[in-house]
């Protein structure tokens, strides 16, 4: 009898724990708005997954809803909108690809384009499809090149353009008698001068593997190094890449212009907040940082933007990867025509003009002028970086694995530096060799 009571207690407790565990596990993958994921079957309704471009998921919804209503008025097609945060978006797309329970149209980070293309789950834009959305030539070539692997019909088209820029605090620079840096060496000396009195010259999202991977690429590109060879094999441990990573790590390690606490910054917003509140003089960020800077009370005349500078002996003046958001249509959509109409609408000049400002995006259409900021110099700088100083991340299927392996290795290196260790060139090379093996094993 006693044993039975005990067993019952145990069983109930066990049940409670397992259900709690299930609840926890599912949190990241369960759809947040009911019924939106499988309503694609009915004729006049599209399901659209938007990525988080504004200051919050709600903000995105508020910005997009009037546009979607306009689309419904024009075409009679209803759109079910779901805005998905960046932490969940890749997993959600993955689940959609695996299960076939997919939306009709989805926003993707353009660096994923080639990786997602290789799943075969997305509709290639052939000539007919391009005709339906107004022709390939309406897009800026730099942006259109990110649509997929070269030589194949792309599976995505650009919708928002982004680029990295070096934001600097004008007041802090003029107080120290400095001008914005033109090369890497100046950047380091300026940052050292500005690292005084509890303030730092620089803030980095050193705990974000995607940000770290982007800068591994940009620094390697400045050294003239490529991440993959002609056969698509990773070359992360080549001198150019290793030295580029070293240069970036040294901002915290050798030059000490970055607060070690930044090693825990797992997204760009934290560094942006430090910048907007005057704790640091410079940040490297994509132009959509404007949203958060302004939301923190720093007006657009208080900061300036210059291209991320390369060392004076650099082989190339690359200052950014071609960042941005692309639109993809799932291949098994039952509303292909409606989906194409929607892509056409989203990439039309009118909608682009309406959305570029609230989302701080660069135009992806030929002949459009940037309107995302009222700071004309900033708009010009970003437009210039985007069209002349950007290089696309390698358009190979293993690109996403470059981001996760190299980016995470850099997270660990920053963590080591932050907790008092040192990272030598050999350490970096060893870590990059491991990353190469991981990529090879995954393929």
């Amino acid at each position: 009898m006693k044993f039975r009571t005990l067993a019952a207690t145990a069983a109930i407790a066990a049940l409670a724990l397992t259900t709690a565990a299930c609840g926890g596990n599912n949190n990241s993958s369960s759809p947040s708005s009911a019924g939106s994921s499988d309503s694609s079957g009915s004729g006049g309704t599209l399901t659209y997954w938007a990525s988080n471009q504004g200051t919050s998921l709600d903000n995105d919804k508020q910005v997009l809803t009037p546009q979607l209503e306009k689309f419904t008025q024009q075409t009679g097609i209803k759109v079910n909108l779901e805005v998905i945060g960046w932490n969940d978006l890749q997993t959600r797309i993955q689940t959609a690809v695996t299960s076939g329970q997919a939306p009709d149209v989805v926003n993707i980070g353009n660096t994923w384009a080639a990786s997602l293309q290789s799943t075969g789950a997305f509709m290639p834009f052939d000539d007919a499809a391009f005709k339906a959305i107004g022709g390939k030539d309406k897009f800026v070539k730099t942006a259109m090149d990110t649509g997929g692997v070269a030589g194949q019909d792309p599976t995505s088209v650009p919708v928002y353009g982004l680029a990295y820029g070096l934001y600097y605090n004008k007041a802090m620079f003029s107080a120290a008698g400095l001008t914005p840096p033109n090369n890497w060496e100046d950047l380091v000396t300026d940052a050292q001068k500005l690292t005084t009195g509890g303030k730092y010259g620089f803030a980095l999202a050193a705990g974000s593997y995607t940000e770290n991977a982007h800068f591994a690429f940009i620094n390697a590109a400045q050294n003239g190094a490529d991440l993959f060879d002609k056969d698509g094999k990773p070359t992360f441990s080549s001198d150019g890449v290793v030295n580029g990573i070293q240069r970036f790590l040294d901002l915290m390690q050798k030059d000490k212009v970055v607060n070690v606490a930044n090693a825990q910054y797992d997204n760009g917003t934290k560094a942006v907040n430090d910048f907007a509140t005057g704790k640091v003089a410079m940040i490297l960020n994509q132009n959509n940082a404007d949203n958060s800077i302004v939301a923190n009370g720093m007006t657009s005349d208080k900061y300036g933007v210059v291209p991320f500078p390369a060392p004076s002996d650099a082989k190339s003046q690359v200052a950014s990867h071609v960042a941005g958001i692309n639109l993809s249509i799932f291949k098994n959509t039952k509303n292909k025509d409606a989906a194409l109409k929607f892509v056409n609408f989203m990439t039309s000049a009118e909608t682009q003009t309406a959305l570029d400002k609230p989302f701080s995006a660069l135009p992806v259409l030929n002949g459009a002028t940037p309107n995302f900021t009222d700071n004309a110099a900033e708009a010009k700088t970003f437009a210039d970086i985007y069209s002349t100083k950007s290089k696309p991340l390698p358009l190979v299927p293993a690109e996403d694995q470059f981001e996760s392996t190299v980016g995470k290795a850099m997270n660990q290196m920053f963590a080591k530096i932050a907790s008092g260790g040192t990272v030598s060139t050999d350490d970096i090379r060893t870590a990059m060799k491991t990353a190469e093996q991981q990529v090879a094993a995954a393929g």
Partner: protein, 324 residues
């Protein structure tokens, strides 16, 4: 286990059931089967099918090139297992490292949680004022939603703004720099502490229930013979809660070894090597690289390992209790 504790009833059972069998089938004989059927269907759907699918997946080259159409994924035999077990390669050595971290983590968490649970249960065994209050207080971590609890820890363990560093360095004035708790090697300490915090109330609850089933006259008799509290605990409490301990340790071992939520919530998706628990490692290995075949192979090996450990554990303990 149930058989070991209740042998008398089983010896009486056979003659009764023989009698029953000779009788003609009573009407409604199918009712027990009908009542069981939904359970069996759910067992198959929820347990058996996913398990078999997982084992099947582990023999496929299920990378992102095939993920949208599983049927096309080529069978590659034991290749996934070979890669995962090649401890000189990058994937294998990372898996081994994660396995060792998980073993150390499990030993510490289960051991300390059990000790804490036992201490608290013994302390609250006798009647005193405020007993109910303490029981409730100790169960709070268990009652909190897991996410809320771990996220609170995540805030407390921040370097510059966290309560832990504030307490240690600003209030207690320990010397030196404030350390990081969520990156680098300290992350192991953090995850052990958080996991213990979460697990020990369960040990406490189970042991408390176990202790209540011990009759007080045994303690009184031993006290008359001059037994001190520790001797009472060792010679009366421990043997009497042995059945509880057996199940409790096994369950805690399985939960802790498989723990996913704690590292996931505490570290996000970029785990430090020192806090890289195995189920989280497998999740990362398969979801971030989209290589589900490889992830399935690792999961199958984890399953086999846990089955092996549980099997040996039950076999050894059952044999010992039969001998006793």
């Amino acid at each position: 286990m149930a058989a070991a504790t209740a042998p008398p009833s089983t010896t009486e059972a056979p003659p009764k059931s023989e009698l029953k069998q000779r009788r003609p089938r009573p009407s409604g004989w199918w009712l027990p089967y009908a009542l069981l059927a939904p359970a069996i269907v759910f067992e198959v759907v929820i347990h058996i099918i996913p398990m078999v699918t997982g084992i099947w997946m582990s023999f496929l080259k299920l990378t992102k090139a095939f993920i949208s159409n599983w049927g096309n994924a080529p069978v590659i035999g034991t290749k996934n297992y070979e890669v995962a077990l090649d401890f000189n390669g990058a994937v294998g050595s990372a898996l081994l490292q994660s396995f060792l971290v998980t073993c150390a983590f499990t030993l510490l968490v289960v051991g300390i949680s059990w000790a804490l649970g036992m201490a608290a249960a013994v302390a609250l065994q006798g009647k005193f004022r405020g007993q109910g209050f303490f029981r409730t207080l100790f169960l709070v971590p268990y009652a909190l939603p897991m996410y809320a609890g771990i996220i609170a820890w995540k805030f407390m363990l921040q370097k510059d703004t966290g309560a832990v560093n504030h307490f240690l360095y600003d209030n207690l004035h320990l010397g030196g720099d404030k350390p990081f708790w969520l990156i680098g090697d300290n992350s192991f300490v953090s995850i052990v502490v958080v996991a213990i915090w979460r697990l020990w109330p369960f040990a406490f609850l189970m042991l408390m229930a176990g202790l209540q089933s011990i009759p007080t006259d045994v303690y009184e008799a031993s006290a008359v013979d001059g037994a001190k509290p520790f001797r009472q605990w060792r010679s009366i409490t421990l043997p009497m809660v042995r059945p509880v301990n057996m199940v409790l340790l096994l369950v805690m071992f399985l939960w802790t070894f498989n723990d996913f939520n704690t590292p996931f919530v505490l570290f996000g998706n970029a785990q430090p090597p020192a806090g890289d628990l195995i189920s989280f490692h497998i999740y990362n290995a398969s979801f971030l690289t989209w290589n589900f075949g490889s992830g399935a192979a690792m999961s199958v090996m984890l399953l086999l390992f846990l089955l092996l450990v549980s099997g040996i554990y039950l076999l050894v303990l059952n044999r010992r209790s039969q001998r006793a």
